[in-house]
């Protein structure tokens, strides 16, 4: 579940230069807070999907949706229902592991969280983990005592459950 004041907005946009700037600029101009944003190609050529996590009350979120809709290169904006979505985030985490003991402890924890080891050196381990943001937070906290050297998180991406889809109608 998401914290009560967090909302996920899924948008389909034209996949062309400047669109991310336009969207980010809108948030800045109007004082909306982006918690995370992830962008990638959508199901159709020429379109991209932006998944934006926003903080704010209902009135703010309504304005976010309406203002996004006004941008010419934004084609579709949907506020996802938190109880009816799948959200995922991917993180890469580099942890120091100078001893064999530490290394095996880390790998044990990783197994429980279904994280995968993707790189090993004599001094460190890098793991890949996918899941909800809460799960990733929990795993990172667990790794802290070992010494978390670097974390790279993608920000969440999300789709609604079932056959219904957020896409453009032709």
């Amino acid at each position: 579940m998401l914290p009560a004041h967090n909302h996920i907005i899924s948008t389909i946009v034209e996949h062309k230069p400047g669109v991310l700037y336009n969207v980010a600029n809108l948030f800045r101009c109007r004082g909306f807070n982006i918690d995370s944003i992830s962008v990638g190609r959508a199901e159709e050529v020429g379109l991209a999907r932006m998944t934006i996590m926003v903080r704010g009350d209902d009135r703010t979120i309504e304005q976010v949706v309406k203002q996004l809709n006004k941008l010419i290169d934004v084609i579709k904006v949907t506020r996802l229902e938190p109880e009816n979505i799948v959200t995922r985030e991917l993180a890469l985490i580099k942890v120091s592991a100078p001893s064999t003991k530490a290394r095996s402890d880390i790998i044990n924890y990783a197994d429980i969280f279904r994280a995968r080891v993707v790189d090993v050196s004599t001094e460190s381990l890098m793991m890949e983990i996918t899941g909800t943001s809460d799960k990733i937070d929990a795993f990172i906290n667990l790794m802290r005592p070992f010494g978390v050297k670097e974390v790279a998180r993608t920000g969440i991406t999300s789709l609604s459950r079932g056959a219904k889809s957020v896409r453009i109608e032709e």
């Binding site: 336009n22 600029n25 101009c29 203002q67 809709n69 006004k70 941008l71 934004v74 084609i75």
Partner: protein, 566 residues
């Protein structure tokens, strides 16, 4: 299809959009375009500053209801139009800006844009928050589509400025051009037709209303809905208040006219709106200068809000019946449904409105001196024909004009409402005069504002665009001084301009007429003379620096707390 250059394609596209005039200043990055423009038949009006060009295009758009076009070269030329675009954006005016840009490629590098070339500015980045749409053309063949898209977006839905950035090599590049009319913009579909169910709800609410009132905003002017508004107001016998941007959309000599609401609205409008039980708000965004504090705005009224921009619904006030659609279309749909069921000529509300109006009219205070701005504006109304267009600068001159100059015809009051741009009025009046050459156009100015764009006297004289500028001259930044008088113990910080320049001599230096009017009768004579003169006339009217604009809603207060006069 024959090949043509990007510059040729641009001019051809503009002709297809029926552009007759461009306001602009040339420069290195525009040379190919100006060379084609030279004998194209489209008139280019050479401004003296790009800001003036942008405001003139805006004034042209507001007076004519069509897109106004301005053009500036790359770098400083482009950044000089920024104020003009921000102004047009906040007042929803269809201004189209064409800017030159450094080439995308140059001979010694693979690309030039983004390398801080001479006179390069990221005008797309700069104008993104203040345009409805902007685009940088990357190849010559993209120009026809860019023009078509920009015009369509600027003039449809809620109008607004657009900008096309034209790198120099796209102007010279040759290509097969496609001028077809088809236009598909997936992310832009303005809602014009009202939802029938919402219209039904609105009609139901209006039929039940005992004290209906109409609040008409700039959207009524923009959608040319003044006739429909008048019809509905008369049917409902509902008093009509206008927002600042709505001024002129309802004839102010009509018994149902209450004048403007807001910070410097009339006492009448500000008081009556508090008594309404149903408020029909058309084409307004309930801006803070109109509403005062929101906790106290129309406490007893259910609001029907018609606006073409969905984002304006529920942004500032909660409404009972939202209708996202064109004002004209919606009023057209509401009228017959109301007319079928409504026939009230007399009601306690109508009587009350007329009584209150008569009382306030009898109490209007035009000031004791022989010559006050209020008296001058009343006199001006008597002299000018109904269709005359008034532009204003920003500050006291603007608020006096809004309060005391009665507008009758739609689109006859042109002023910077949203951005409050000093220096807007004079170039805007030049643009309005180009759009409506047979109407007298008058700029009500203050000495502070006029100085900001006075160099356009050069434009008006050399291009033969005669307007009348009335400088209400208190040698002060008067509105700021008024606030200092009222809220800062009269400490006049940074407002005293001194009695320079001599505006009569200034006008004469440009080859314009300059007249000083020290009394009401001198003023009247001067205006009558100016109307017959074929060159721009500046009438300098010394007024007292102590004059305040009243009524006024003090900052942070509600309409209920309106103080002073009228």
């Amino acid at each position: 299809m024959a090949k043509m250059t990007g510059a040729q394609a641009l001019i051809e596209s503009l002709k297809r959009e029926k552009v007759e005039v461009i306001f602009g200043i040339s420069g290195g990055a525009l040379l190919p375009i100006h060379d084609v423009l030279y004998d194209s038949g489209i008139r280019h009006i050479l401004a003296r500053h790009e800001q003036g060009a942008a405001h003139a295009a805006d004034g042209y758009a507001r007076a004519s209801g069509r897109a106004g076009v301005c053009m500036a070269t790359s770098g400083p030329g482009a950044t000089n139009i920024v104020t003009g675009l921000a102004n047009a954006y906040l007042d929803s005016s269809p201004v189209i800006a064409l800017t030159g840009q450094v080439p995308t490629f140059s001979s010694n590098t693979s690309y030039m844009i983004g390398r801080d070339a001479f006179q390069e500015a990221d005008i797309i980045g700069i104008t993104t928050p203040i345009t409805k749409y902007n685009v940088q053309v990357k190849r010559a063949e993209e120009i026809p589509h860019a023009v078509k898209t920009s015009f369509y977006i600027a003039t449809s839905g809620r109008p607004g400025p657009t900008l096309i950035d034209l790198p120099k090599d796209t102007q010279t590049g040759k290509a097969e051009m496609d001028f077809s009319d088809s236009l598909q913009i997936r992310g832009y579909k303005p809602n014009i037709e009202p939802h029938p169910l919402q219209v039904k709800k609105a009609v139901k609410l209006l039929l039940k209303a005992e004290r209906p009132m109409i609040l008409a905003g700039g959207g009524v002017n923009l959608s040319n809905a003044a006739p429909e508004l008048l019809q509905i107001a008369q049917l409902l016998m509902a008093p009509v208040a206008t927002t600042f941007m709505g001024k002129s959309c309802f004839p102010e000599n009509h018994p149902l006219s209450m004048g403007n609401i807001g910070m410097h609205g009339t006492m009448l409008a500000n008081k009556m709106i508090l008594e309404a039980d149903v408020l029909l708000a058309v084409g307004t965004r309930f801006q803070d200068r109109s509403t005062g504090t929101l906790d106290d705005f129309v406490p007893d009224a259910n609001i029907i809000h018609i606006d073409i921009d969905a984002a304006e619904i529920g942004k500032n006030v909660n409404v009972e019946v939202p209708i996202v659609a064109d004002a004209k279309q919606t009023l057209k749909m509401i009228y017959p449904k109301l007319a079928k069921k409504l026939n009230k000529k007399e009601s306690p509300w109508v009587k009350r409105v007329q009584e209150v109006k008569a009382k306030y009219l009898s109490e209007i205070d035009l000031g004791n001196a022989d010559l006050t701005s209020a008296k001058l504006l009343k006199e001006l109304r008597k002299i000018l024909p109904e269709e005359a267009i008034i532009a204003t600068e920003v500050g006291q001159n603007q608020m006096w004009a809004a309060l005391h100059f009665q507008t009758i015809k739609p689109r006859s009051f042109i002023s910077s409402g949203g951005l409050g741009t000093m220096g807007f009025g004079f170039p805007a009046s030049i643009g309005a005069k180009v759009a409506c050459p047979s109407f007298p156009v008058v700029d009500i100015a203050g000495d502070g504002s006029f100085r900001m764009t006075e160099q356009e006297l050069g434009t008006s004289v050399t291009e033969g665009i005669p307007v009348i500028v009335i400088v209400l001259n208190n040698s002060m930044l008067g509105m700021v001084a008024q606030w200092q008088r009222l809220f800062y113990k009269g400490r006049y910080a940074a407002v005293k301009l001194g009695a320079v320049p001599d505006f009569v001599k200034l006008a004469q230096a440009y080859g314009a007429e300059g007249i000083r009017a020290a009394s009401l009768s001198e003023f009247s004579t001067a205006v009558k003379k100016a109307l017959k003169t074929e060159v721009t006339t500046v009438i300098d009217v010394p007024i007292s620096p102590e004059d305040d604009v009243f009524p006024m809603v003090p900052p942070g207060k509600g309409l209920r707390d309106t103080i002073g006069g009228l």
